[in-house]
Subunit: 351 residues, 2 copies
DNA sequence: TTTGTTTGTTTAATGAATTTACAAAGTCCA
DNA sequence: TGGACTTTGTAAATTCATTAAACAAACAAA
């Protein structure tokens, strides 16, 4: 059965258009909304009054007149409700309570060593509980929880596979919903990052963007026409597993010469450990060497930047997005990575 | 100004849902449409009667009763109008007149040697004129013209760049609209192929598919959620220019080791000409050798199949589409290409 | 023959947007 | 200072597509 149209659908469409406009362009008046949406003033008045009644908007007083009666300015009520967002990392949990504007109200960061599902889930639970306790009184309370994970999940919020956590088939969404009784969404960390950058970050003006998160591996989130693109079974966006060397090193994904074998933190550390003969070398140490202009370290970072660039060129050629945003832990090394990366990109991609 | 909702929007939505259902599942009755869409019988009746009045549907008589009054069956009226589709090739023009069911009514195929824009356009014009003359009398007449071109175009139907035709910045859409005064759409041959396969071909059941057209180069059309994906400036989908060999041969696109340098007809012929010492060897000759089980030819085709497979694996890893459809001239060689291709795909991609 | 089912239409009710009119509160200029 | 014009927002009447309910026609099965 398809989505058919009726009167309630119309109202939903128009109400959400009005709300969205208030959210993004407030403060503004009813008259201006009518002008910009094409709806009549009467319709806008009625919808706005309903929004005010349901606490999603506020009147904040008169504005400047433009030659006639003064407009009553409207503001989106970010304090109508709150939400919890969690970045579930391999060795940390980073959780935040935000209002509906995305403003962070409370934050918790804690380190943990990758351990069993039970331990991590217990910590996660405590974390979220204490954030919810800190939420101010509000009409809608805490409306939902979102979790970004370093791995794949399906539509039902089951963590199918998170190699670096060692998780497999963990029904995280259901576990959290059973605990907190509010809606929970689970998604890949790169997808979450992509949506975040689109809404609040560097991609606010762009309708299409690719977010590349370079950490232990490479994760990517793809936004097309303001919407996150998912492949059919949730396994899409594995740009990290594009082969950039068709007869290169074998990858655990089955393919050979995958990009992430050459352009990830893991790859960098492997090279570095070989170069320095120190099998326990850490990223921070390498960056120390680089700061001291150690030629070996600089060389390693330059190579890495170049490899990253090769993959970026592929992304440009395939998706031609308006923006490419690079995030993840390796972003700390941006100073060294950017020049060789940009050189490759400029040389190899269409304008 | 955004699309707001009003009563006419509702009607448009519902009418198109009903029409689409008739088009795809006819013959069927009003009652069945009501059941399947969730609309009431009264609404469906009213919409169907309007469709009949505007000649888009027909009643074709009573069907079998299922225990009550016999249903009046409805049929989509494919003869309400006609359309012209053109495949503008490098050395040929292939044009067809179809009805609204996509049934081909008339067809014209002609060879031409790649020549100036003026000559090709004159031939194209004659071609289309003679097809339009052959269109039967109908309520809507010939409603539009679609042209697939071997190159890039923008939203205004300007052929930005068609290397194998030698065209640059040709406003083909406007030229045709000025001549015929009906809507014209221009698009890349691979995009057109992708949409065609989705509607009428091997991808009818799939919501996402990638169409790979392997000819002189490699073109790709990407369908996501039943919609063609275009990059921001119309230059997207250049999967052919994914680098599969990061320090491989330089490509005229600026990148190195592009897939199409290894997996296209051009690549095959270059290898073949070198192998046989015949600088004018043609594809048909090579296929002749292959038919005679000539080991050199078989080897070349096997290599090509493997290279194609490498790129297909990349497509799977990035898009994870429901279907991948391979078309183009090299499809003739499918018998030899398929085994090595499938071997690579099975070995290297996730299930 | 009776009962129940299926198809499709008719009629009245519902509800959301539009149109038209208008009151309130300004600005601007002579 | 006063009148003309603007701008903002609300109110009442109108329009129109859908739904709900009732119903007639046609038919199968008991």
């Amino acid at each position: 059965m398809k989505q058919t149209g009726d009167l309630t659908l119309i109202k939903k469409i128009n109400k959400s258009i009005v709300l969205e406009m208030i959210r993004r362009e407030s403060p503004l008046s009813r008259a201006r909304i009518a002008e910009r949406t094409g709806l009549t003033k009467a319709t806008v008045s009625s919808l706005v009054n309903e929004l005010i009644e349901s606490n999603l908007a506020h009147e904040i007083g008169m504005g400047q007149s433009r030659g006639g009666r003064k407009p009553m300015l409207l503001l989106f009520n970010g304090a109508a409700g709150y939400a919890v967002g969690v970045d579930l990392g391999v060795s940390y949990i980073h959780a935040a309570l935000t209002d509906l504007n995305g403003q962070i109200i409370e934050e918790i960061r804690l380190q943990n060593d990758a351990s069993s599902v039970e331990t991590v889930f217990a910590e996660l639970k405590d974390c979220i509980h204490s954030l919810i306790r800190k939420a101010p009184e509000s009409p809608y309370g805490v409306i939902g929880i979102g979790v970004g994970i370093p791995g794949f999940s399906d539509e039902e919020g089951i963590v199918l596979f998170a190699p670096n956590l060692g998780w497999e088939n963990v029904p995280l969404q259901k576990m959290l919903e059973d605990e907190f009784h509010i809606p929970v969404v689970i998604d890949n960390e790169a997808n979450v990052g992509a949506v975040g950058e689109m809404r609040f970050g560097a991609g606010r003006e762009a309708a299409s963007l690719v977010y590349v998160s370079i950490g232990a591996g490479i994760g990517t989130g793809i936004i097309i026409k303001d919407e996150l693109y998912r492949g059919i079974s949730g396994f899409s966006g594995e740009i990290g597993h594009i082969s950039i060397h068709h007869d290169g090193k074998p990858c655990r994904c089955g393919n050979s010469g995958c990009w992430e074998l050459y352009a990830s933190e893991k790859a960098l550390l492997e090279e570095a450990r070989a170069a320095y003969g120190n099998p326990r070398m850490k990223l921070s140490e390498l960056l120390q060497f680089a700061k001291q202009s150690d030629p070996k370290a600089l060389r390693l970072l330059e190579d890495l930047g170049r490899y990253i660039g090769v993959g970026i060129v592929n992304i440009i050629n395939v998706f031609n997005p308006e923006r490419i945003i690079i995030g993840g832990r390796l972003a700390e090394a941006a100073d060294w990575l950017k020049p060789p990366l940009m050189e490759i990109v400029e040389k190899r991609s269409l304008p």
